[in-house]
Subunit: 347 residues, 2 copies
Amino acid sequence: KKILVIPGDGIGQEVTTWGKKVLETIAANYKHTFTFDEGMMGHVAIEATGNPLPDETLEKARNSDAILFGAIGHAKYDNDPTLKVRPEQGLLKIRKELGLYANLRPIKLFDDLLQASSIKPEILQGADILFFRELTGDVYFGEKNRSEDRNTASDLMIYHKYEVERIARKAFEAARTRRKKLCSVDKANVLEASRLWREVVQELSKEYPDVETEHMFIDNAAMQLIKDPKRFDVVVTGNLFGDILTDEASQIAGSMGMLASASVGDKIGFYEPIHGSAHDIAGKGIANPLASILSAALLLDISFGLQDEAQRVIKAVDATLRQGFRTMDISSKHTENRFLLGTDAMG
Amino acid sequence: KKILVIPGDGIGQEVTTWGKKVLETIAANYKHTFTFDEGMMGHVAIEATGNPLPDETLEKARNSDAILFGAIGHAKYDNDPTLKVRPEQGLLKIRKELGLYANLRPIKLFDDLLQASSIKPEILQGADILFFRELTGDVYFGEKNRSEDRNTASDLMIYHKYEVERIARKAFEAARTRRKKLCSVDKANVLEASRLWREVVQELSKEYPDVETEHMFIDNAAMQLIKDPKRFDVVVTGNLFGDILTDEASQIAGSMGMLASASVGDKIGFYEPIHGSAHDIAGKGIANPLASILSAALLLDISFGLQDEAQRVIKAVDATLRQGFRTMDISSKHTENRFLLGTDAMG
Ligand SMILES: CC(C)[C@H](C(=O)O)[C@@H](O)C(=O)O
Ligand SMILES: CC(C)[C@H](C(=O)O)[C@@H](O)C(=O)O
């Protein structure tokens, strides 16, 4: 099995080291042969080659079985919106080129992190949500325009029926293996793209009579998610709404530093933490490597079908938390100093 | 002073009665002369006239000094996305026609509601956010398209410089009278419209060196809002992101049923609860009228400059909560039965 590692920018570098080490350890313990290669993407790639996704990286990606990615983005571009070449273009391009249309984001709280969230424990306990975020369409990929005088700017929010159908189908199938509830999120009271979305999901729901399907507006969903996260099982939504909701949902898992995601579609799987490059803490050795480690677990599970190995990783994370070990982002006022770890110690 | 009351759909009818009664009571007590008229909008207007915003209502709106609105929307349209004439079109049209480009949504917790939120009291205490949501642009008003074969649908997300400038200016001015912090929310790492947004806000911030300006991506903002609401003072954002963030922020105020909003622009002010028509509880007499009552307070304050009168209303709400009275949405397991009220008793 060939794994391409793309650390990317900021804390991506620090945390991906640990996702990779976990894969190496699993390979050694279970006698699998994983070969690793490394690729550049994002700000680091722009600095080195002028291109956020160099052809060489894309070529390596196409020849791999799975990809472990870190994070993307840099303050330089955030502070200067006029820059033409931007790190995020690399990530968007690789998602599109590899046909990674389904982004799975499981939101589950490790029991020991109940205190790390800003939400009340009784609201959180038992919450377990699986997000399906559409990843290669929507306003992310619609035509962009800037007027000659630079005073008008636009992006086209656009969906095709087949795009909605294939992601919704994956979500329905997943719901079948879980609590059989699907919530589709849109803004059909205002947006035409959302009305198409809702029509397609409604139509498809007839094929899944055993799944209880509900439609919710994005504004309401953003509220319900914090008010009563337990009401959700599988959630399916578009690229933009999925981006927003899953970041918000990170508070259900205690911290963004705990959440992994899998992007799948045609063939190759792409695994990454939900968190960003976090330039404010990059290089300080304090980032939480658990999201990268849990991304490695998703990789083992989804791309390689190695469920035992994946469970072993998740159990190791759980055991570590049970012993009281915390990185800064998941510490609480009850965390003792000797249990507060940096990236490497936690890894 | 001429006030147009538009109850709209669902619980809009029930709660607006009380917003109006409060205005009448204030008029009597302070010897003001308010004259009231009533207009139709939304599903009720479609049923009666075929038009979600009848010309008569728009005419009355144009001739009023301020408008007290209830809510809009009906399950019939939510369940059938193919319907061409929809209640929400009425609301969008009146916003556009009256030039209501700035939607102010103050998020503040009444101390006695600390327990009603799903967020921990220590995270909430002291949170006080004023949202400025742009209300007449963005993907809400950009061109909509549906392909001939109905398999492709799109909405144009579009912003013009002057639209960003005028709302941002209002937000900067407000920040000056508060804690002097402005957070502008966008998705400039992906969207061209957001890059324009960020450029304009950056440029304008030079005129407000006394205001600390920060830019945040919408996904991050959706998370920070629950993680640490106290970090925000004034927030300015586009129509779509503002819709999502302010609904989410309702959990900071304990319940959606507590939040009022003011839409202003050219001349006439438009006041409404943030909550929707809530058809699931409509007609049951259990909706919380406080958001409508607080909308009336905003109307007195912003459109009529009657600060004392507005404060009197807010204090009455506070006193009512202090005495333990609750509607269902803001009750907690500690609420005794005799303090649990329906809409009219609470009103
Ligand atoms: C970095 C950015 C382009 C990206 C996105 O918006 O998709 C990120 O926020 C994510 O969620 O993966
Ligand atoms: C009813 C709907 C069109 C409206 C909106 O999205 O603007 C509502 O959610 C609001 O926030 O006022």
